[in-house]
């Protein structure tokens, strides 16, 4: 009996180990360049506005109902081909964003432009729009 169980465990371990070693070797040998930009590459740091730990299954629905973010995107229709914005559209968009970011009742000086707070990377300044 002991021999049977030892043999069974040994066989399973042997096959498992062989698959793990050979699978890793195969991945390294034949799967070339299988990586892409991660969250650090795109400064994508997650901010959690709500967390709940160790819930029971029944509590999940309540959690979702209380925390669901409904985000209305007023973007162009999905079937429209992507295109560059015109100067006019870009100016209007910047103005709208600026308005949306001003807290109600705040004093705004007259000579601030919409692009004031946007940190433009060097490569982007090479574009025609900054000439």
């Amino acid at each position: 009996m002991i021999n049977f169980f030892a043999g069974l465990f040994a066989l399973a371990f042997g096959i498992g180990l062989a698959l793990w070693i050979c699978g890793s070797m195969l991945d390294k040998s034949n799967n070339i360049g299988d990586s892409r930009g991660d969250s650090k590459t795109y400064n994508a740091e997650a901010t959690f506005t709500s967390k709940c730990n160790r819930m029971e299954k029944t509590e999940c629905t309540t959690y979702v109902q209380h925390n669901l973010i409904t985000n209305d995107t007023n973007g162009p229709s999905g079937t429209e081909q992507v295109r560059r914005l015109t100067e006019e559209e870009r100016r209007k968009k910047a103005e709208a964003e600026k308005k949306a970011n001003i807290p109600k009742g705040a004093f705004v000086s007259k000579n601030t432009s919409a692009e004031d707070k946007y940190d433009v990377p060097d490569w982007e300044k090479r574009a025609e729009r900054y000439y």
Partner: protein
């Protein structure tokens, strides 16, 4: 229309080594910015004829195809609706037909090729040669064709929102129980390149990342001379979908790091993404090297800026099977004596198994399961990526180019 050398009127091509426009006839070099040629003005008036009208045919091969005349030899150039630069099949001169496209659809940026064709092939061969399981026929592959293609990308800023429920195991007292974890939040990402050519799968093109955006230059058609290029043909929904997929991937990774549980998996998710419509349109360089192995088409991608090689290749199945068998047998025989010793001491003189013994048994079973699943997952990942390398659409995307 080719950009001509101002000294000898031969067609100029962009040279990735010197980053200059090079004349192969007289050896003159010019920076793309200083070539203010008549060609650029000519391109604005460039008119194409519909191929189906020219040939008076409704055949599928002429659908969405346009006919131009080569500016050098007058030969016929046939391109499809998304191509922006090509070579003349008769004289081999580069022809850029970019300005037929509305200005708003022209890219803002271009990342010039830094890797030459010879370097790209050498990089691919060197990388493949290192593979222990790669068949010899693939290591010495003969190139079917090698094309330098500028892939259109939209560089996207977006905010991803999600409410996710995770299921994970935690220790409560001496037991391991399943519990649920909620995470709501957002993440903003900047300058994510989203491939804008429908024919190339996002899975393949995203592997060319990362691109160093500091190498981007203001768009100039002259960078396209000597290379092939495509224009964007994706919709807002395609871009949103791509941003959503990447956002989800980043969000899950961040949440898993934040949750104190093991075997975590997503059981419910309510994602949405807000993509900034002011996207930057750029052309990024890639070499497409195609070859055939056992009648199957294969395409190797090489990042034209960094030289990163992307492909997954079929493996020597016999060698793999022998290696698995040898390792499995050796490990089984060796571990048999260890397990036998262990079980003998556990079941010695008819004593019952205590909690410590049970824990050891559980640990061994979980360990074996993990080895199995990790090994199988690795093989599955290789197989999935092989299917991408063997993608017929990508092969014909490269192969169908004129020249």
């Amino acid at each position: 229309m080719a950009t001509l050398c101002r000294n000898c009127s031969h067609a100029l091509v962009f040279d990735p080594v010197s980053q200059m426009m090079l004349c192969s006839a007289c050896g003159s070099e010019f920076t793309p910015e200083e070539v203010e040629s008549e060609a650029k003005a000519y391109r604005l008036d460039l008119r194409a004829e519909d191929a189906s009208e020219v040939y008076n045919s409704d055949e599928e091969e002429f659908m969405d195809c346009y006919v131009y005349s080569c500016s050098e030899c007058g030969g016929e150039i046939i391109i499809n609706g998304t191509e922006a630069s090509t070579m003349c099949v008769y004289c081999g001169n580069p022809n850029v037909v970019f300005s037929r496209i509305a200005r708003q659809k022209q890219p803002e940026f271009v990342m010039p090729f830094k890797i030459t064709k010879t370097q790209a092939v050498m990089l691919a061969r060197d990388t493949i040669k290192k593979g222990a399981f790669v068949p010899r026929a693939i290591k010495n592959f003969s190139i079917d064709c090698c094309r330098g293609i500028y892939i259109p990308y939209w560089i996207v800023n977006a905010t991803y929102y999600d409410t996710m429920i995770f299921e994970g195991s935690v220790n409560e007292g001496k037991k391991s129980v399943k519990r649920y974890f909620g995470r709501t939040g957002y993440l903003k990402f900047k300058d994510l390149p989203v491939d804008a050519a429908k024919v190339i799968s996002d899975d393949s093109s995203s592997k060319l990342e990362p691109f160093d955006l500091n190498h981007l230059k203001a768009f100039d058609e002259d960078y396209l001379a000597g290379f092939y290029s495509n224009v964007s043909d994706v919709t807002y929904s395609d871009v949103r979908w791509a941003a959503l997929e990447r956002g989800k991937e980043f969000f899950i990774k961040a949440a898993e790091k934040d949750i104190d549980a093991f075997d975590c998996k997503v059981v419910d998710s309510y994602p949405s993404v807000d993509v900034d419509t002011d996207m930057k349109y750029a052309m990024l360089p890639a070499w497409f090297i195609t070859f055939r192995y056992k009648d199957q088409p294969h395409t190797i991608l090489v990042n034209g800026d960094t030289g990163k090689v992307v492909c997954a290749l079929p493996w020597k199945k016999a060698l793999f099977s022998i290696l698995v068998t040898v390792i499995a047998l050796t490990a089984s025989v060796l571990s048999f004596f260890i397990f036998k010793e262990m079980f003998t001491s556990m079941f010695a003189s008819g004593r019952n198994l205590d909690k410590g013994d049970m824990r050891i048994m559980l640990f061994i079973i979980i360990g074996i399961g993990t080895l199995f699943s990790t090994g199988v997952a690795n093989v599955k990942r290789v197989m999935k990526n092989i299917r991408l390398t063997q993608d017929k659409a990508m092969f014909s995307f490269t192969k169908k180019r004129q020249g």
